[in-house]
């Protein structure tokens, strides 16, 4: 749930990056962090295991500028992808304003993508949300890898609802900001629609 502070004139929104393990969620946040001016970002927090796998979440607070005299602040979170961290994933979805589903384009990861998307729907439903009603975009990541599925195929499989989708190479940053802008726009548009 977004938080509107009339006193400090700030809107705070929560965006969650979801997807199978190793699809590039943390890499998205790292790229955003590295490319953002120091005054527009807070510290990036990663609660990771010793092998750098996300344990609980990554967190990056980001200021995107002003709208009608209100500062917009986005809190970006990633979830741990591994199947056995489902309890943590559910917690991170609490109060979410927008979701980015990061898919791994590699053919070998198709089943993992589907499973994770299914898991996202289930976990959202448990919180009383529906993916069809939330601001939601999809990113097809790792477009630079050798054995990847064509975008049309990924789209047919993962994006039947035709939400905005983007190709990305998160390691070098391609598509990362397009994805972020698209979800931020949808979140603000929803805020406008629901009257805040």
């Amino acid at each position: 749930m977004s938080f509107i502070n009339y006193l400090s004139r700030e809107i705070n929104c929560k965006i969650v990056y979801y997807g199978p393990g190793l699809c590039g969620k943390t890499t998205n946040l790292q790229f955003i962090y590295n490319k953002t001016n120091p005054e527009a970002k807070g510290k990036m927090i990663s609660l990771a295991t010793e092998t750098e796998r996300t344990l609980f979440f990554d967190f990056l607070p980001l200021a995107l500028g002003e709208i009608r005299g209100f500062k917009t602040r986005f809190h970006l979170y990633t979830v741990p992808g591994q199947v056995f961290y489902d309890a943590s994933r559910k917690l991170i979805l609490k109060g979410v304003d927008g979701v980015v589903f990061v898919a791994d384009s590699q053919i070998a990861r198709m089943e993992a993508n589907l499973e994770s998307l299914e898991n996202l729907r289930t976990n959202l439903a448990e919180q009383g949300y529906s993916l069809d009603k939330l601001p939601y975009v999809i990113q097809y990541n790792k477009r630079d890898m050798p054995s990847i599925a064509p975008v049309e195929e990924l789209r047919a499989m993962l994006n039947p609802g035709n939400v905005p989708d983007f190709e990305a190479v998160a390691v070098s940053g391609g598509g990362v900001f397009d994805t972020l802008k698209a979800i931020a726009k949808l979140v603000l548009t929803e805020l406008k629609r629901s009257g805040g």
């Binding site: 927090i45 709208i67 603000l188």
Partner: protein
């Protein structure tokens, strides 16, 4: 939606800030924070310069969420209080009205007993304020500036 929109107005903020300021003094604490359950900082008082408040807010909310998850597994409704003891600093975390989190950071200038006592009183007052705030937010006649936002406003945010 499961949890209603959090909104903060000047009137309620001033009431909340007064309680937080008083709690710092009365409990002899270093810092006091109020955070919503989604990790957003609502108010702070005391020696906040030394602390990355945004990070602390997000981690505290994560902690409360995780503890809430454990409570559910044990068929408890919620663990409302947590205490973490360090060598220099201690953290007392109190869930208020299942809606916001009251965090007190203190050192050996005070005692856990005193902190607990003051937190209890402050929680009751805070609970009343947040209750009233919620009523206000749910009022359908409430005015918001966001209905006025245009697509251009949103686009302009990204044109730099």
């Amino acid at each position: 939606m499961t949890n209603p929109q959090m909104v903060m107005y000047e009137e309620e903020f001033n009431q909340i800030q007064a309680i937080v300021d008083r709690l710092v003094k009365e409990a002899n604490a270093r810092v006091v924070f109020i955070i919503d359950k989604n990790g957003q900082l609502i108010a702070a008082s005391g020696d906040t310069e030394q602390i990355d408040t945004t990070s602390l807010a997000s981690l505290t909310a994560g902690n409360i969420a995780a503890t809430g998850g454990m409570a559910k597994l044990l068929r408890e409704s919620e663990f409302t209080t947590q205490f973490h003891e360090g060598e220099q600093s201690n953290i007392h975390i109190q869930l208020v009205g299942n809606r916001v989190i009251l965090v007190v950071i203190f050192d050996n200038k005070t005692s856990l007993g005193l902190v607990r006592l003051r937190v209890k009183k402050a929680s009751e007052e805070l609970n009343r304020i947040f209750e009233a705030l919620l009523q206000k937010v749910q009022d359908p006649a409430r005015e918001t500036p966001f209905a006025e936002i245009t697509d251009d406003d949103i686009d302009n945010l990204f044109n730099d």
